[in-house]
Amino acid sequence: MFKKTIAWTLFILAVLPCLAFSSSYLLFLEAQGIAGYSTAVKKAIFFSMSQMEAMQKPSLGFDYVQRFSGASGDFAVLAVQARLAVNADGDKTLEPQLYNAYLKIKTRSVDIWIGHNRPKFGLVSSLDTHAQLLQPLSMNGLGFDRDWGVGVEGDYAEGNAGISLTTGSGMPLYFKGNFFLSGRYSRGILNQDNYNVGISVGYGRILDVAGYHLMSETPMEFAGAGLDFSWLKNNLEHRVEFMAGTLDDQGVFAIFWRTGIGLLEEGRLKLEAQPVIVFARKKTQTQLSVGASYLATPDWTLRAMVQYDRDMKDVRFVIQAYFYKGIRF
């Protein structure tokens, strides 16, 4: 609670004076409704993955980016992205969620960030999944969607490279001897070259967390490497990721593949399929998901997903109505 209070206080102190920079900020409001059905529990669900995970759940949120500049250009960026989500299963509760909460300092050669951001590990470090139903390997326990710490990264002519040192606790902030050191080197600029290949390595003592829930007080030793590949051609997209290593002295291996096709004018409709296999802690998790995303208007996106989880013996159907729009003061 104390840490959340600090985070929210910092945000408010940062935002209020920044509103005076009339052209150098973006502020978006976000709202989403989530509903579905799970054959395993035989009832309606109001989340896309699990009640414990941070996303996706019904929520209201905002996305704020503030640029700071001097006489010779930009020197820093502040990014804050947060939601107030509803846990609708059982006793209904509200859950404040903090995604981006970082300050990035720009130098001539690299950017340095501090706060809550994407650690440099895996495909998730370059993929914006904040609104999506289909999620990458970080939501299967390999890597983190967001983590607390510091990072350095830079763009060079053929790609990007970066390292980060974070707490290995994900959404919440804990200090129990946990840490996560990771780095990713990539070649190819996806939008310009239509491909990107990335190599990631990571080592640490990471906590077993699901959203804001700490599953165990004892950090687990993790050492792993990943190879990811993204490719665009015409209206087709492919993203593949392999990960291997050890977690808690046991082997871990994962394969992720997402393929998608854009249809209709302006690519408004996207159909995707995503098989995932994760072998960890002597168990194999196999998931096959198919999803559809339709950009009804510039502000409204409708999504649907059907996910088969072989180990949970579950087929779930999930729909999402997502609103995202900017405001100016």
């Binding site: 509103l19 052209s23 973006l26 250009g73 060079y156 015409n234 690519g267 502000d299």
Partner: protein, 202 residues
């Protein structure tokens, strides 16, 4: 006192440089920094400005990428404290989803570089070849004033007529690129160049 009156909302389908540090260095090797500013037609002039832009473009704004409240990301490029140019990109409907066309301009609005940030057409290689972009160097809004974006034709004399399409199979993306370029030049003229001449700040 900061006014908290809320202005019109804007959608999220904007266009900014994926990697501004690299791209600014590449397009303006002499630069030392850049400033990012966000503007929208709704913010800077509303429906009246939108009508003026549509008239200059010769076509209506339509679709996901062309609304009055799309946020445009514009980059002012500096060498020390001296402003030396601009970079701006626009989204445009292409053959396969959207394309993104970026222009690097000098302070007078002349094109010093043209490139596609996003173009997934399998004939993209031919349109992305530097020789295609070089055809745009030195052109400006006056050259595009005679280009009819609806008919895809130049009416009268214009250096735009000399721009050749190296990929006939990607004709629709070629015409989309020309429309995007004209739109980009008009927006830069309205948001940056005219204001700079008038001594206004963004």
């Amino acid at each position: 006192m900061i006014s908290l009156a809320v202005s019109p909302l804007f959608p999220a389908v904007g266009c900014d440089l994926n990697d501004p540090d690299r791209d600014v260095r590449r397009l303006f090797p002499e630069s030392t920094g850049y400033k990012t500013i966000y503007v929208s037609v709704a913010q800077k002039g509303g429906q009246e400005l939108l009508r003026k832009i549509e008239e200059r473009l010769g076509d209506k704004f339509k679709g996901l990428y062309e609304t009055a409240d799309v946020p445009y990301t514009m980059y002012q490029i500096f060498k020390g404290k001296e402003l030396i140019g601009y970079i701006h990109g626009v989204n445009q409907k292409g053959q396969f989803g959207g394309i993104q066309v970026f222009l690097a301009l000098d302070l007078q609005g002349n094109i010093r570089a043209f490139y596609f940030q996003r173009l997934t057409n399998q004939y993209a290689k031919l349109l992305r070849d530097p020789s295609f972009g070089r055809q745009f160097v030195g052109l400006n809004l006056k050259d595009f004033s005679n280009y009819d974006v609806v008919a895809g034709q130049v009416k009268g004399e214009s250096r735009v007529a000399a721009i050749k399409n190296p990929a006939p199979e990607a004709e629709s993306d070629f015409r989309a690129a020309l429309r995007a370029t004209k739109k980009n030049l008009i927006l830069c003229d309205e948001f940056l160049i005219q204001r700079s001449r008038n001594g206004e700040k963004n």
